[in-house]
């Protein structure tokens, strides 16, 4: 039988440090320490040599995209390169983490984590309130534990309570809410045990359904009307409930969760007492919704539960370094073996000591050598053992911002232009706003429909699509931006104001790729200008080539 990795009374982290201390003071410590060193050396020699620390320009673009979701400006690049301070990378990290765009960028990220798993497309209206809520909490430095508790215990009108998003995304389905709470906050895919004991992990069917039993009394009330305003998430503690007919689940509407009878799904199934599979603490039947959810939210976010901190550390580390301690970004747990477990434990201890402070977690990761190494292809063996960082495909929000800044266009302006096009009268605009439709034709939202992806998927599955390539290489709005003959475009102004072709090439590189061109690239561009004959046309091609490059859509 498999051993539970930690019990409530003796957390794993304390256990480990206690054991190490005991060994060191023991008589056999020298021998064992020697053995340990040999083991470490063996493991180290199997891993590839770490690659070099990346250069300053690569670092600055990487850190800017990873924190504030945009490229550094040419001015930021110049001043960073000119800064002689040895501490300048740490200073830059602190500067970006203090920027309000750090909270905005990661609010959008977690919005996607939750909403890409929606079982019902209507829940897309949660995007705005969810992003607003997360942005507020991250900006204020609210702890990850407190944020998690808000999601788990949420009630209220979705438009004002973004924290109802997990419930809304699963349309109040008990089992699906339980699955998502476990996936997002524990990194444990316990829902695989919904219909059968887990194939690869030790979770039992009963454990899943006992966990689901914390969530059967959540009800989404619907009223007539459109959009976010027609819903409200409420506790429902008085039997019997209505509205069973729209669900496939014959038990929906019951006050207690029952594990379906696999032999005969039409049977009522076995009523489950709420019990948390990590610490095995339980509640009796009949407890009110608010109380059950408060209890499980507390048990999930206690320092005694290592999976709560490991889940978020593994997620953020995976995003920043390109590979996680565990292979799946949200698939960890006691049956999986992490890479570099000591580093993971150290980060966990720091994170808990900081009271789950997200900025501190980012700072801890961003200041490591591992983060600051050069990148190697995702498929490259050179990346094993965190020996290199990894090129990450930009998320839709990052790419959108980057395109606008490269072509020198303001988001507020194109938003105004497009809403003027789509909403003919103020009355329709007001109506759209009320129904939540105003989001539909916002350029950023349209862009996301083409470039968005679920950030929890393995990154090797996220490949470019034909509509993406077509939009970047062959769309009307972008081709206007490439027009070098017009004074209204950034390129046009640059060509008009700058006679030196070398400077134009340099400026375009800084704008598009946030770095200076190499001598080879400089020569290739000038050669193209020379061969083409038409200066405007040639530089349109150069700018096009940079904005359509793989380098542009990745952070190196």
């Amino acid at each position: 039988m498999q051993q539970r990795p930690f019990s409530n009374k003796r957390p794993l982290l304390q256990l480990r440090s206690g054991r190490v201390a005991g060994l060191l003071s023991g008589l056999l410590s020298g021998f064992l320490l020697g053995l340990l060193l040999v083991l470490v050396a063996t493991i180290a020699s199997a891993a590839p040599q770490p690659v070099a620390i990346c250069d300053d320009e690569t670092f600055l673009r990487r850190i800017a995209l990873d924190t504030v979701g945009r490229q550094p400006t040419p001015a930021e690049i110049d001043s960073f390169l000119a800064d002689p301070s040895e501490n300048k990378r740490v200073d830059a990290i602190d500067g970006f983490l203090a920027d309000p765009d750090w909270a905005r960028t990661w609010a959008r990220y977690f919005r996607d984590v939750i909403l890409y798993r929606r079982s019902d497309d209507r829940a897309i209206f949660m995007a705005q309130p969810l992003e607003a809520m997360l942005n507020d909490r991250l900006a204020k430095g609210v702890s990850w534990a407190a944020i998690a508790r808000e999601f788990i215990t949420a009630t209220g009108v979705p438009a004002e309570h973004g924290e109802t998003a997990i419930i809304m995304a699963q349309m109040g389905e008990t089992a699906d809410i339980a699955a998502e709470v476990s996936r997002v906050f524990l990194g444990i895919q316990i829902q695989c045990a919904q219909c059968h004991d887990h194939f690869t992990d030790h979770w039992k069917r009963k454990e899943f359904h006992a966990f689901a039993a914390f969530f059967p009394r959540i009800e989404i009330q619907r009223s007539s009307g459109m959009g976010a305003e027609r819903f409200e998430v409420v506790s429902y503690d008085a039997a019997p409930r209505r509205s069973k007919k729209m669900s496939d689940n014959p038990r929906r509407g019951d006050l207690e969760h029952a594990m379906p009878d696999l032999e005969d799904p039409s049977e009522p199934g076995q009523v489950m007492k709420p019990q948390f599979f990590i610490n095995n603490k339980k509640l009796p039947l009949g407890i009110k919704d608010a109380e059950r959810r408060r209890a499980v939210a507390g048990w999930i976010t206690t320092a005694d539960n290592p999976w709560f901190s490991r889940a978020i550390i593994n997620r953020i580390w995976t995003e920043l370094v390109g590979a996680g301690f565990y292979e799946g970004i949200d698939d960890i747990g006691p049956d999986r073996t992490p890479q570099s477990p000591h580093m993971l434990d150290d980060l966990s201890q720091q994170f808990i000591a900081s009271n789950y402070d997200m900025r501190s977690l980012f700072r801890a990761i961003l200041t490591t050598q591992i983060y600051q190494r050069e990148s190697r292809s995702r498929s490259s063996p050179q990346r094993a053992g965190f020996a290199a960082n990894c090129p990450q495909r930009l998320r839709s929000d990052q790419l959108f911002k980057q395109i606008l800044s490269a072509i020198g266009v303001d988001e507020a302006q194109i938003r105004k232009d497009s809403s003027a096009q789509t909403a003919a009268t103020p009355a329709t605009a007001a109506k759209n706003k009320k129904s939540g439709k105003q989001q539909i034709n916002v350029p950023r939202v349209l862009f996301t429909q083409v470039f968005g992806y679920d950030p929890s998927l393995p990154r090797e599955e996220i490949v470019g699509s034909i509509p993406q390539a077509l939009l970047l290489m062959n769309s009307q709005p972008l081709s206007v931006a490439f027009d070098g003959d017009r004074q209204s475009t950034t390129l046009g102004r640059l060509l008009h104001n700058e006679e030196d072709d070398r400077t134009v090439v340099k400026d375009l590189y800084l704008r598009a790729l946030a770095r200076h061109p190499t001598p080879g690239e400089q020569a290739a561009c000038l050669e193209h200008v020379h061969a083409t004959g038409d200066r405007e046309e040639a530089f349109e091609d150069v700018f096009w080539a940079l904005l359509n490059s793989a380098e542009f859509v990745h952070r190196k």
Binding site: Y453, V463, I466, P467
Partner: protein, 423 residues
């Protein structure tokens, strides 16, 4: 100068193309033989009735029962096979159609049922299951060993808002290519610059990519291959597929008027150009009120183009290899509500199949006289998906890996309705 490098570049960028002319313009013939090859390969067209079509006003009329709501039935060209009165064109080709009257499921909410009938699975946050189109296209591509069409392998026409389902765990290259309006070219396919200049740009892009490629060769190579495919698509002579006006007047008339008719015609043209799967979406079937006049109107838009499509495929020798599916996410209640409507009813509903080796002129399963319970030959959603697989010679037990490392079969159990097929 540019003329002489154009041909070389085009060959480099579009390696499988056989060039017809030295001077290349957009839309010039970049004739590929893949299309010819695939013309004889398997394909599938899904006519998706969004909202849940009433079985009683379509292909399971209830004659002589109050639940029938007074909808009259008409004979088809197959003795004993009767359709609701709104389907005269299909009634003439009943011998090409197989009706499954015993579909049964438990899912009565639109998004969940829609996902179920598109993927064969209920939604589950641990994995996005691939939609039928993505399953079919990826499997048929494997059968064809490398021959890919110039156009995207899966096309979905007329869906509103966001997709019900995409390629999911199969990866984005199998996502349906969305087309809102069948009479317009897809977005961003009208060339912004001359063809030779586009190719020059691609060349320049590749030269400037060397720095990035030195550290990230895989990402750079994938990117290049994607740009090749996108370029190949918009430069392909197959882009003419989207030009419905080039179809002979007589054929256009056969399909009739309206967006659904245009979509059906486009679907046939796409399949002819080597596309593996086309989904045509017809909205408006959620007839909670005024069911009878609404369905009559909807049928008026679907009947003729649907029949024309089946006949057209047959005339061109494509019907045997092209499975045509008509279905929605569930059926509607036998009882008529006070607003003259029918509500959601997954317990028993219907679907219609033609082509793809399906023997026409048969009815599978039945319900009781009130149209409530399936009393003979129940067909579950996995059974139906297993049937689709059989038609296209796809092994339904093939497994794909979910991100969690859990294998997911193409079809979750289910047995093909073998009596639908010849021999």
């Amino acid at each position: 100068m540019q003329d002489c490098i154009t041909r070389r570049q085009l060959l480099r960028w579009i390696p499988s193309g056989g060039l017809a002319a030295a001077s290349i313009g957009w839309g010039d013939t970049v004739a590929l033989h893949a299309a010819d090859l695939r013309k004889h390969g398997k394909a599938c067209i899904l006519l998706w009735m969004q909202g849940g079509p009433s079985q009683f006003e379509t292909f399971s009329p209830l004659e002589g029962h109050k639940n029938g709501g007074g909808t009259k039935a008409i004979s088809t060209n197959v003795p004993g096979m009767r359709f609701a009165e709104h389907w005269p064109a299909l009634a003439k080709i009943g011998n090409r159609l197989a009706v499954v009257r015993s579909m049964t499921s438990k899912e009565g909410s639109h998004p969940r049922a829609s996902y179920l009938l598109h993927t064969g699975y209920l939604p589950n946050p641990s994995a996005r299951h691939p939609t039928l189109g993505s399953i079919v296209a990826s499997q048929l591509a494997a059968q064809l060993a490398g021959e890919t069409p110039d156009l995207p392998p899966v096309v979905r026409i007329g869906a509103r808002g966001r997709n019900d389902s995409g390629a999911g765990i199969l990866g984005m290259q199998w996502d349906p290519f969305e087309l809102r309006d069948p009479t317009q070219n897809p977005a961003n396919t009208k060339p912004m610059v001359a063809a030779d200049r586009h190719l020059l740009r691609l060349d320049l892009m590749e030269r400037l990519e060397e720095n990035f490629a030195s550290q990230a060769p895989q990402e750079a190579a994938d990117h290049k291959s994607l740009y090749r495919r996108a370029t190949r698509m918009i430069m392909s002579s197959d882009m003419q597929t989207f030009d419905l006006k080039s179809e002979p007047q007589s054929v256009q008339q056969e399909y009739g008027e309206g967006a659904f008719a245009a979509s059906c015609l486009l679907a046939r043209r796409l399949i002819e150009s080597g596309v593996s799967f086309v989904e045509v979406v017809m909205n408006g079937w959620d007839t909670h009120q005024d069911n009878f006049t609404q369905v009559e109107k909807l049928a008026g838009q679907v009947d003729r183009p649907f029949a024309a499509l089946v006949r057209d495929l047959e005339t061109r020798g494509m019907l045997d290899n092209t499975l045509v599916i008509w279905m929605g996410e569930f059926g509607r209640t036998p009882q008529i509500n006070p607003r003259g409507g029918r509500d959601h009813f997954p317990r028993s509903f219907n679907a219609l199949l033609a082509g793809g080796g399906v023997k026409g002129g048969q009815i599978i399963g039945r319900t009781d006289k009130a149209g409530v319970e399936v009393t003979d030959r129940p067909v579950t959603v996995p059974d139906l998906f297993a049937t689709f697989c059989k038609s296209m010679s796809i092994d339904p037990t093939i497994e794909n890996m979910a991100p969690s490392g859990r294998p997911i079969k193409l079809v979750d159990g289910g047995k093909a309705v073998t009596e639908l097929f010849n021999g």
